[in-house]
Point group: C2
Chain length 74, copies 2
DNA sequence: TAAAATATAACCGTATAAGGTTATACAAAA
DNA sequence: TTTTGTATAACCTTATACGGTTATATTTTA
């Protein structure tokens, strides 16, 4: 799988999880301590977040990191 | 958990998995198509690889990404 | 011993992740 | 209509991931 394709899939997973929690991009950025523009870029697949970012995201949203990954490897 | 601590834990997991497969850093870098110095930096926790890198690593070593993560969240 | 394999380290570059600011678009609600 | 909330976008800057090269240290092997 190419990097662009991977980033897009990852972004959609992030977005889906965020909406399932009823949060806005601003909400998530406040929880993580960064800016909403970055969340937007991640959800649209423009950038590929580090694993450290992913783990913080999962922790702040009170989910298991597996929830993000299990939809990515097919 | 701080970023440095996280990176060190992650690096140790990567290293343990690599050794379990009987591979050198050069072997892994050849499989992934990057240089061994980068593997060394990751294993020592100096840098935090992207999730894209992690998934490629897992695929090349024929393991589930979960194997890396399940030792990280405590 | 000498040579090769392995890992770490110090550089110097480039690519990209990420923050900050501002503007734009659009929908929902007043 | 006007206002507000939400998301996207275009910039610029800084931090960092990553490649390439070279050197060093250590272990292993011939």
């Amino acid at each position: 799988m190419k990097k662009n394709e991977f980033n897009k899939k990852l972004g959609m997973c992030i977005c889906r999880i965020r909406l399932k929690k009823g949060l806005t991009q601003v909400d998530v950025s406040a929880l993580l301590g960064n800016n909403p523009q970055n969340i937007s870029r991640i959800e649209r697949g423009l950038i590929s977040p580090t694993l450290f970012w992913i783990f913080n995201f999962a922790k702040c949203l009170e989910i298991h990191p597996d929830e993000i990954f299990k939809e990515l490897d097919e």
